[in-house]
Subunit: 269 residues, 2 copies
């Protein structure tokens, strides 16, 4: 089974249920964890997560991937660390630091291979954005979709069906996610609130864990849009967008395009 | 074998060697051609190419894919036309018209399937841009790579290794292609001049046909870039970019990352 955990940033470190779930899925006490802190500009990001994980009942300390420039990335110790990990955690910061550093390296290829073999891949904030093939690099806030509201580039490509956005409702990012989906309605937009995870199993089933929501923006029933014609920064029109707002316990089946809200949530009995 | 022909626009219709090569690869006189004119805002684009192809010795007239809105796309006759075609030609115009119309439809999925079964896929200008997974949607000109110089979205995804740009030297687009490659050095930038084709076989070998050049921008040896940090519209720094300028008869092997210039061109004997 493949498992991707896209986390919306601002994890509650006092009640780290999302990180506990990551550790559990990566093997619990037996987990071999690897931290990629390179999106962050702070020097202690790696050791910060190392300490957090050591409080979560992992027998062996997590490893921190060591590289600062592109020339360091593909050293054998790094490739081996990726191969050996049962859980890989990509910290937040700036997602373009991740793509400019790792893009096109053997290590990036190895990340994909180890994910396909079953290693749990988790990323928070920038670390979540980078997981998809078409990556939301940066952009502006607001509820209205506008031409060029966000900038895209290639991400790591662990999934090519989804596009992740993070800090989603905290930073009012619905407009840019709708813009992305209108430009190519085959992308499924996944907006993830802070301290919330969208957990993708087998590139098919998304489940939600955390205190916020995951907003699914599905463009498959868009009947018309003027996204091809709208001038720069002008609002764009979109008809037939389907949106699901999912909280903990809810699921979304990508193939069936169906959201599942469990009865205990949907009925007040 | 899979065959993708990405054409840089402004095909010389008086000496249509590129279109002849498309017809030849699609089966010659026996070819069943399908034209997708939807990127164009002109009403006669489909019939224009239909007439062009009828002068190139095809027994059966080409078909024109008929759909103007997303609700028309997946009608059975259209899906059948894609399945039956031995060569599909995507005309120029605005590539976002193609992604907003076809993105996420069954027809888009069928295009990929028929391509993988051996149907020749050709596109000119916007029709070339749309062929890749990460698509260059629009942008500005100039030789200097700058932050946000171009806008990207998802394309049809017939290849996920390459990123095509067109009208390449005529519209001075090196800057935006370098920007794209710097943002994720795993993308191979392919800039195609007017009346020139980059022919991709088996997602591996690129050959050049036409009166201009194909410029390959390879980021795999980038040692450093500040593309993650540069402010909006500021020039970005890139070290270690590899560039090949290839003319007719030259090839590029994507896996080996090697350009091959035949002896008759490289020696003046």
């Amino acid at each position: 089974m493949t498992t991707l955990m896209a986390i919306g940033g601002a994890i509650n470190h006092q009640a780290p249920r999302i990180l506990q779930e990551f550790v559990r899925r990566a093997g619990g006490a037996q987990a071999r964890l690897l931290i990629l802190p390179q999106a962050s500009a702070l020097e202690d990001t790696g050791s910060f997560y190392l300490n957090l994980f050591s409080d979560l009942g992992v027998d062996r300390p997590a490893a921190i991937l060591a590289c600062s420039g592109r020339m360091d990335v593909d050293q054998p110790a790094n490739l081996e660390a990726v191969k050996q990990a049962t859980g890989i955690f990509i910290a937040g910061g700036n997602q373009m630091r991740l793509t400019t550093l790792f893009g096109g390296t053997r290590l990036e290829t190895e990340l994909l291979a180890t994910y396909r073999r079953g290693t749990v891949l988790a990323g928070t904030s920038a670390g979540a954005a980078v997981l998809s093939k078409v990556m939301l690099a940066f952009g502006r806030s607001g509820p209205t979709p506008r031409q060029s509201l966000a900038q895209f580039t290639a991400g790591f490509g662990l999934t090519d069906k989804l596009l992740f956005d993070q800090h989603f409702r905290q930073r009012d990012r619905l407009g840019r996610l709708i813009y992305a989906v209108a430009a190519h309605p085959g992308l499924l937009g996944v907006g993830i609130d802070e301290n919330t995870a969208a957990i993708l199993e087998d590139d098919r089933l998304i489940s939600v864990l955390g205190t916020g929501a995951v907003t699914i923006v599905d463009g498959h029933e868009i009947s018309a849009t003027d996204a091809a014609e709208a001038a720069d920064h002008a609002p764009i029109a979109v008809a037939g967008l389907k949106v699901h707002v999912l909280t903990e316990g809810c699921c979304y089946d990508i193939l069936q395009r169906q959201a599942i809200i469990p009865k205990k949530l949907s009925l007040s009995d």
